[in-house]
């Protein structure tokens, strides 16, 4: 073979700690290498042109680039060599940046390491084979998980782009967190007034099929051809009949049910429609509170329902949908405030969370927008906000910033001033984070125009003092201990991964970080893609973010899907397992272990049965290859011989070293 080696300096990123020139010189001595050079930035246009020129002039049939991680630029360089007429798979990278120059402190050792990594890559390329993709059909339907603002935006954009959309929402109504909010910052728009029309659009769009009160049971398949099993949970109300008239709610005798929409600061009926603008506006029974379920008799709703929609015997229903891509927009959760023992949250009624306060401020909320102390219903004279309640706190395992609390606290402080004449408002903060458009002006207004007192410091304890709450903290600007008596304490609780986020990630085979937020492909350059082809992210499931960012990501994910579906057929990844039929002994151990069911039996003309890989189903994990005793099934681009060649090349280097 004629292999060319291109060693990158990456400016000083590699060049500073690895002698790239020396690596290139050493590479010239390796078997199969006919050309080797080093360059300042191999990924730059001139750097790529250099490769293309060398391929032509030196008649190269294999290329090794020693540079950054292949997870970064493998595809870039594959396209480069393809443009020069080489099969794009006749290529490999030696990672001499992330795995070498950036982590080793000894330039000489780094250079030796880089040289050995190049030698291994050359040995691997010498065993590469030309691979060719085949085309397969794409199912141009998209599944959107989560009917919050990000998911709805994604669904609407996809649907407007002509795609069939399946939108699955866990709750009975779409809307998500934004539907719980009273106003939005920094414009102090009515949240439901700007969200409501979008919810209606989603419900009425003829390209969108909406499943609410539904969850994902199972996802199978691969990009272009996913199969989702969706569990439609039993609402015990036949939604084809329910008109949302609300008569059942009026008559339901179980009036102490937990009110999820109002975050538990109010109670609701066991059969309920969560809020007046709900879409679809359908009732659901909460069996934990319904007397028919807990006591075995009642039946009031069934009697009063004018359309006879109530069905206590209803069971969950599983539906199957076939789609080509999935957008995950499952949002975020909020910290269990029981974790914040020092604030007495959960123990003292007048210590509440921001989202509870939001419901209290809302005109259609349980208090009709009147600010009241939960303990006695009195109007507070002094309200204290505590930001970073659980965020930016390594001791609670959440060192990250929850992103939007500073802004909603400013908004709620302003609204408090608006709602309660003469009220005093204090905000304890660590830093005010207001980097969005118009955000800094907004927090300034809260302080300067509305007279909200901002105290830079943390609160160590909240405890009852008579009828009021004593907030004890520190003012770090004054360097003094502070004690403020408050009537109401509002916590800016940490945003967490949504409950069940990890289980869903496992079904989707996407990664998540240590906090449970989903991992994007690349934090800068591929923010809405995942490492699983055909699965995209939008909104706060990827990390806490505010409404404009979530909407932006919803549209971004939709545009990714539209781009993916702009072709009728997709090229399959040829880096899959391939059976050498002459060597297969037909033991089918590969079939037993394949996680994807990608291996079928094929009968040869002499009647012998051998394994055969279904091209589109194989994901290229190589489990079969390490299972097959005779090595008859080989993962292309990562065959036994290629790995053995890498090990042997390394061994040669070791021998020369000693």
């Amino acid at each position: 073979m004629r292999i060319g080696v291109f060693v990158c300096h990456c400016g000083t990123n590699i060049g500073g700690m690895v002698d790239s020139h020396q690596v290139a010189e050493a590479a010239k001595q390796f078997p199969h290498v006919v050309y080797a050079t080093d360059y300042l930035y191999t990924c730059s246009e001139p750097g790529q042109l250099q490769i293309q020129t060398a391929i032509k002039e030196q008649s190269l049939d294999g290329v090794v680039v020693a540079a950054c991680s292949p997870r970064m630029h493998e595809n870039t360089f594959r396209r480069t060599i393809e443009r020069a007429g080489l099969n794009r798979y006749m290529f490999d990278m030696a990672n001499i940046r992330e795995h070498c120059s950036w982590i080793g402190e000894d330039k000489e050792a780094n250079t030796r390491k880089a040289t050995e990594l190049v030698r291994m890559a050359v040995a691997k390329v010498a065993n590469h084979a030309h691979l060719h993709s085949s085309l397969f059909d794409v199912n141009k339907r998209v599944l959107v998980l989560g009917g919050g603002v990000a998911g709805m935006q994604a669904a609407l954009d996809c649907a407007d782009g002509g795609l069939d959309v399946i939108l699955v929402e866990k709750k009975t109504s779409v809307g998500g967190r934004m539907a719980q909010l009273d106003k939005t910052f920094p414009t102090v728009d009515c949240s439901i007034c700007i969200l409501g029309p979008k919810m209606v659009d989603v419900a009425q769009h003829d390209k969108i099929k909406l499943y609410t009160y539904a969850e994902i049971d199972e996802i199978k398949g691969y990009v272009g051809n996913y199969t989702a099993k969706i569990r439609k949970k039993a609402p015990y109300v036949d939604w084809t009949k329910c008109t949302g008239c609300g008569l059942c709610m009026e008559k339901c005798p179980s009036k102490q049910s937990f009110d999820y929409h109002n975050e538990g600061i109010a109670v609701t009926t066991a059969i309920n429609i969560p809020f007046p603008q709900a879409i679809p506006k359908k009732a659901k029974i909460d069996p934990a509170y319904c007397r028919q379920f807990t006591k075995g008799k009642c039946g009031v709703c069934a009697k009063v329902c004018p359309v006879k929609a109530i069905n206590y015997e209803m069971e969950d229903e599983i539906v199957t949908e076939e789609v080509g891509a999935i957008i995950v927009a499952t949002g975020y959760g909020l910290l269990d405030i029981g974790e914040l023992g020092e604030y007495g949250a959960g123990r003292y009624p007048d210590v509440i969370t921001g989202i509870q306060y939001e419901r209290m401020l809302n005109a259609s909320g349980p208090t009709q927008g009147h600010v009241q102390r939960p303990s006695d219903g009195e109007e507070p004279k002094r309200v204290v906000f505590i930001s970073c309640a659980g965020s930016r706190d390594a001791s609670l395992g959440r060192p990250y910033c929850s992103n939007f609390c500073c802004m909603y606290i400013a908004k709620q402080a302003i609204l408090t001033k608006d709602h309660v004449p003469g009220v005093e408002v204090y905000v304890f903060y660590i830093d005010i984070r207001s980097p969005g458009k118009g955000y800094e002006e907004f927090t300034r207004r809260a302080q300067e125009e509305y007279g909200v007192q901002y105290i830079r410091g943390r609160v160590s304890r909240v405890f009852p003092q008579g009828k009021r709450m004593m907030v004890k903290g520190v003012d770090t600007l004054l360097g003094a201990q502070m004690e403020i008596e408050a009537d109401l304490v509002v916590l800016g609780t940490a945003a967490t991964a949504a409950p069940g986020a990890q289980e869903l990630a496992e079904k989707l085979r996407i990664s998540y970080d240590g906090y449970g937020f989903y991992m994007e492909s690349h934090p800068k350059l591929r923010p809405v893609e995942t490492n699983t082809s055909g699965v995209f992210l939008a909104g706060a499931c990827q990390g806490p973010k505010d409404i404009p960012a979530s909407v932006g990501q919803g549209s971004a994910a939709a545009s990714k899907v539209l781009a993916l579906f702009s072709k009728d057929q997709l090229a399959s990844d040829p880096q899959i397992a391939l059976v050498n039929e002459r060597r297969c002994i037909g033991c089918f151990k590969c079939q037993d272990t394949c996680p994807f069911g990608a291996i079928e039996e094929r009968e040869l003309r002499d009647g012998q049965k051998v394994a055969h890989v279904i091209e589109t189903v194989c994901q290229g994990c190589g489990l079969c290859t390490s299972t097959c005793p005779p090595g008859a099934i080989q993962l292309q681009q990562c065959t036994d011989n290629q790995i053995i060649a890498e090990v042997e090349a390394l061994c040669q280097a070791w021998k020369q070293r000693s």
Partner: protein, 298 residues
Amino acid sequence: MKAKRYAYYPGCSQHGTAAEYEVSARAVADKLGITLVEVEDWSCCGSTPAHTVDHVLYGALAARNLALAEQMKLDTMVTPCPSCLIALKSARVMAQDKEHLQELRELIDLPLKGTIEVKSLLQVIFEDIGLEALTAKVKQPLTGLTFAPYYGCILTRPPQLAQFDDAENPVSMDKIIAAVGANAPDFPFKTECCGAAFGLAKRQIVQTLSAKVLAAAEAIAADAIVVACPLCHQNLDLRQEQVNAFRGARSRMPVWYITQVVGLALGFSPHEMGLDKHAVASDAILAKWETHLKEHAQ
């Protein structure tokens, strides 16, 4: 039931200012089927003064006691004092690091593994004995009495080290108090600092902080404060007159050790529990209890 054996590290207070804590701890342990085997030739745990000077020496002081306890072939060492607890636990964590372990071994010149478990006496009563077994042994429930459970600042902190109860809102003493039949209302100051060792150097700090604890206990109408720490006891009980003078109050708030509370319920007399040794007399609360018991008997 076979008595469970623990290596016992009393700490210096138990032999001085907290003699009644020692007496009650040993009596209660015995009654609950716990054998406390005092570590022979134990020495200072290092406590606050050492760790402000040199961390490794601080570790070594405590580690010597760990090493001695390890030679006793018992799996757990128990101490009544939270300050000792943190010192011993810190040394144990330090010993998990190979380099530090070597340093410690050289300093104390004893074989050290750093494997022995360290627990507070409170944790042993709460977890190893358990509320159920405790309730079963109660002879005279402390009905009608209200206690303010005061844990102090280091019994549960830092949580990574303490590995016991909730750091910010501990409930173990609350539950023990309830188990012996008394009330333990929500006490917001349960983990605030009393001023601890500042009593000698900066008395005003103790006065300021302890005053708040005492006031908070009065606010919840407690008959007594319950502590599990000799230093807390010293500041709240012995210095109560000083604190009163400082805050212009005439508080006579008894301060009991948790072991005294349990001991009383298990049938020991107030004298046996050393309740007559405190600076603030317990006559009123004991009288109230007696009245209550009589009424109950009728």
